[in-house]
């Protein structure tokens, strides 16, 4: 990996940063099964996917999307937005977990354990 990606546990410089802790940071997950029988269904599906991507959700697996939210309030905003763009047909699940819970997830590629997605830092250096 050539990308220089310094991330610090925020702190150090000027005192405590309790506001950004693992219990306040939320991950919003959206799971969906949408019909693709007719042309219109496929269109609705594509539109929904595009809209949640525009809201900052990133693909975790096919039809499972994730978004990192720095607070409970922020998570509520994005949950509300997903609700406002629900497709006319199909199943959609919205779930919200704390960063603590999210961090306990185990992800495998084949038999190999891979790293969980990183928490978004308030400050990132590229």
């Amino acid at each position: 990996m050539n990308i220089r990606f310094l991330r610090s546990p925020i702190g150090g410089a000027g005192g405590g940063f309790e506001r950004l802790n693992a219990y306040r940071i939320m991950w919003v997950l959206v799971f969906f099964d949408l019909p693709t029988d007719t042309k219109k269904d496929r269109k609705n599906y594509a539109l929904f996917r595009k809209k949640i991507q525009a809201d900052g959700f990133q693909m975790f697996q096919f039809s499972i999307y994730l978004r990192h939210c720095s607070s409970r309030e922020n998570a509520d905003v994005h949950i509300k937005r997903v609700k406002s763009i629900l497709p006319p047909k199909g199943h959609v699940g919205i779930m919200c977990v704390t960063d603590k819970q999210f961090g306990m997830m185990e992800i495998f590629r084949g038999h190999e354990l891979v790293q969980n997605p990183d928490t978004v830092q308030q400050l990132e250096l590229f």
Binding site: M1, N2, I3, R4, L6, S8, I10, G12, A13, G14, G15, G16, F17, E18, R19, L20, K50, Q53, A54, D55, G56, Q58, R67, S70, S71, E73, N74, V120, Q121, Q122, L123, E124, L125, F126
Partner: protein, 298 residues
């Protein structure tokens, strides 16, 4: 919510897709995405960064402060949006029509808050601060006795350890460079929040240099400066006299927006505190309040 600060110090291609900022790193070809609405400050500090106009437009539409740096890595420019608030023409009016006595009172509060915070820094550095506390308690309307400058002279002489022989100058030797860097971040943050509150960062309550585009930002950031000084003191403690800017120092300074400060007896990140300060300023201009909310350093 705390907005994110993104700093680019390596060659990168920045573009946008789906309302996201897409970052393509030159050397690795790796791409990353970040939601534009979550970004508060974007710092461009490399000669080989390419950025698309569509991205700039979207960043500004989301009220991001875009800072560009020159080849010496010092911030040179700050770009802000023109319509940061829906009531802005009403707020502009109130700001421009603010009476001289009101402005003087606001400046009095600002100077008092600044000196108070400077005194707190000296206390942290285990230096005598009674004189500053005395100055802070006796600031006159419009700071007619210029306590700000007297306090500054006293403060800068004592804040850093003895081996530094420090003189505060814009282009002076370190740690002036660290202070300038930190203040530039702070200024961008304050200017961004002023715009978001529907104020003109150009027309100050005290500063009125015809060549300065951010007079009001410079006024309002005064009480926040000691927070930067605190971070610089911390850096000096770790590095002694070796104060050429390193990435670690930069990281410490860039963490300033997320620092916790006490404002209105509540703990909040500095970035949000500035927001409360600018909002209280609007209320003062509109005659709905008389007190500017400033953080209290402890």
């Amino acid at each position: 919510m705390i907005k994110r600060t993104l700093y680019f110090g390596n060659p990168a291609y920045l573009k946008t897709a789906n309302e996201q900022l897409v970052i393509e790193m030159h050397d690795s070809g790796e791409t990353k995405a970040a939601p534009i609405e979550d970004i508060g400050i974007l710092i461009l500090d490399h000669q080989q960064i390419t950025i698309t106009q569509a991205l700039l437009a979207k960043l500004l539409a989301n009220n991001t402060a875009v800072i560009t740096c020159d080849h010496t890595h010092h911030p040179t420019g700050l770009m802000l949006n023109l319509d940061g608030n829906t009531l802005q023409s009403q707020h502009f009016q109130a700001q421009l029509e603010a009476s001289a006595p009101l402005k003087k009172q606001l400046w009095q509060q600002t100077v008092a808050a600044k000196i108070q915070n400077q005194a707190a820094i000296l206390a942290i550095q285990r230096e005598e601060n009674k004189l500053l506390l005395n100055y802070a308690a006796n600031v006159k309307s419009g700071d007619s006795e210029n306590h700000e400058a007297q306090a500054a002279a006293y403060y800068w002489k004592r804040i850093f350890p003895d081996f530094l022989e420090f003189r505060r100058e814009r282009h002076g030797p370190p740690p002036n460079n660290l202070l300038n860097y930190g203040y530039a971040i702070l200024r961008a943050l304050v200017a961004r929040n002023l715009v978001a509150s529907g104020l003109l960062p150009t027309f100050g309550i005290h500063h009125r240099n015809q060549y300065n585009a951010y007079c009001l930002a410079d006024d309002i950031m005064e009480p926040y400066r000691p927070y930067v000084d605190k971070v610089v003191c911390h850096i000096i403690r770790g590095n002694g006299r070796f104060l050429e800017m390193t990435p670690t120092m930069k990281k410490d300074l860039l963490a300033i927006p997320a620092m916790d400060v006490i404002i209105d007896e509540q703990k909040s990140p500095l970035m949000n505190a500035v927001q409360r300060t600018t909002a209280s300023l609007v209320k003062c201009f509109e005659g709905k309040a008389r007190k500017l909310l400033y953080p209290v350093l402890q």
